[in-house]
């Protein structure tokens, strides 16, 4: 059994929270530059250039790239030979979020109750998903998930007879309905299969794929990713919804085994800031 002090985990969460919000990763900015070269609309290029300039301004001024510093979404893959010590794992993660938000001057955007709607003041609690995996490592994946794009995400229980065309149609409709609201060019995380909640979780996990735009190792899924990307980029929505040829930067699909009568499809939309990082302890 390998012991990991939860303070180490807490500190890692704090650092990730600040890092992802202020420093958009170089690989991602590179993808934005590629989009700038691909975009055919003049206004679209102007907007993409502004987005790239903003990423630099954020780094230089030590400011969050976007004022919506997001919900802290954290995937924790815990090796079954790991024993967290010195406290409660989830409390330690939330403590890291609180310190990251305070020290990084990030925006407190979380309400303690969706009905009474009082701000918790420190962006805690995070949305945490834990997975038990083989080994003695603990892997943290952190995403600052903006709400403008989260709000445009959708899930539908398709019929098996809807098939691939049904999947493509549902995703296209979701993106068209969202239009400029989720701050395109977007990244799409798509979860297909499993059941109601697993499809949504797969869609969120798909957004964490690194590097952005990497194809799924299975050929038929990789081909579907290409088809979705082409379909979405043919909508004409473009950067910020003001028209153009680059509506999505990438589409990542994850799948799971499914019941004979089901075809759940979840589309989780991420904005052009796409802020996430992972590390292993």
């Amino acid at each position: 059994m390998r012991e990991i002090d939860v303070r180490k985990i807490s500190n890692a969460v704090r650092d990730l929270a600040i890092e992802v919000n202020i420093h958009l990763s170089e690989g991602f900015v590179e993808r934005l530059r590629k989009a700038l070269a691909q975009e055919k609309s003049e206004l679209g290029r102007e907007l993409l250039q502004r987005i790239i300039d903003n990423a630099r301004a954020a780094r230089e001024k030590m400011l969050p790239a976007c004022q919506d510093t997001g919900t802290a979404v954290i995937l924790v893959e815990i090796g079954q030979d790991v024993h967290p010590t010195g406290g409660n794992l989830i409390d330690a993660i939330n403590d890291g979020v609180t310190r990251g938000w305070r020290e990084g001057l990030l925006r407190a955007s979380i309400l303690g109750d969706p009905l009474t709607r009082m701000n918790t003041g420190d962006n805690a609690p995070a949305v945490v998903h834990t997975f038990i995996v083989p080994g003695d490592k603990l892997r943290l994946s952190f995403m600052a998930k903006g709400s403008g794009c989260e709000n445009m995400s959708r899930l539908k229980m398709l019929k098996p007879s809807d098939g691939e065309e049904g999947i493509l149609k549902f995703i296209e409709e979701t993106v068209v309905e969202a239009n400029g609201r989720p701050c395109p060019p977007v990244t799409l995380g798509v979860g297909i299969g499993g059941d109601f909640e697993l499809a949504a979780l797969l869609a969120k996990k798909a957004l964490f794929r690194n590097p952005i735009g990497a194809r799924h190792p299975e050929k038929h899924i990789a081909q579907l990713e290409e088809k979705i990307l082409d379909r979405v980029n043919a909508t004409g929505i473009g950067p910020l919804g003001m028209g153009g040829t680059v509506t999505a930067l990438a589409v990542h699909v994850e799948t799971a085994p499914v019941h004979i009568s089901s075809l759940p499809v979840a589309v989780n939309i991420d904005c052009h800031a796409h802020r996430h990082r992972s590390l292993s302890l």
């Binding site: 055919k40 609309s41 003049e42 206004l43 907007l47 502004r50 987005i51 300039d53 903003n54 990423a55 301004a57 954020a58 001024k61 030590m62 400011l63 969050p64 790239a65 976007c66 004022q67 919506d68 510093t69 001057l105 990030l106 925006r107 407190a108 955007s109 709607r117 701000n119 003041g121 903006g146 403008g148 709000n151 239009n179 400029g180 609201r181 989720p182 701050c183 980029n233 043919a234 909508t235 004409g236 929505i237 473009g238 910020l240 919804g241 003001m242 028209g243 153009g244 040829t245 904005c271 052009h272 800031a273």
Partner: protein, 187 residues
């Protein structure tokens, strides 16, 4: 398409908005008031009660933003626009009180376009997700009301050449609908 850039100063007058067309770039100077979901709920309650507002709404501009805290030595944190359509339900009350423009991101409902036409108001889009660079156009921040709302409090921002794009004009035009119609044909 030639791009027009127009400089406007608040409070906005009817004549300022008359010639604006969707796609025009506007550099806005003067004062704008920040309000988003929770702030609108309170504003609309006051308007419906006929109570005085914490600021003069005549010709005023509302900016849908919830900024991040300012770093020491800086005026404001990151302060880009939030999604406007969440405030669609409040629009008739807001513009009937005299507000002449709102700033946000993303398209709005057909109903909002009709309301804006009726009351002579326009909708500007700032570039979503560029709050760090937009902070450079804010020269002063004052808390006006509702500090308890945190980032959602009502603040007066003094802005200089704040860059926006006309997204809905007085004729009911919509940049998002037009752009998509144009580009989906080309692809």
């Amino acid at each position: 398409m030639t791009v027009r850039t127009i400089r406007l100063t608040t409070p906005l007058k009817d004549a300022d908005l008359k010639g604006l067309k969707i796609g025009d770039r506007v550099l806005l100077s003067g004062e704008v008031y920040t309000a988003r979901d929770a702030g609108h709920k309170r504003l609309v309650k006051l308007i419906r009660e006929g109570a005085p507002l914490p600021f003069n709404p005549k010709g005023a501009v509302i900016y849908y933003t919830g900024p991040t805290p300012a770093r020491e030595g800086q005026i404001i944190g990151s302060c880009g626009p939030t999604t406007s359509s969440r405030m669609d339900a409040y629009m008739e009350d807001i513009v009937s009180a005299g507000i002449k423009a709102t700033i946000g991101k993303g398209g709005r409902s057909a109903e909002v376009r009709e309301i804006q036409k009726k009351y002579g108001a326009v909708y500007f889009s700032a570039v979503g997700g560029t709050g760090a660079i937009l902070s450079e156009n804010v020269t002063k921040v004052e808390l006006v009301a509702w500090e308890d709302l945190g980032t959602e409090a009502l603040r007066r921002l003094t802005v200089k050449d704040f860059p926006v794009i006309v997204a809905n004009d007085l004729a009911g035009g919509d940049i998002f609908l037009e752009a998509r119609a144009q580009w989906s044909k080309k692809i």
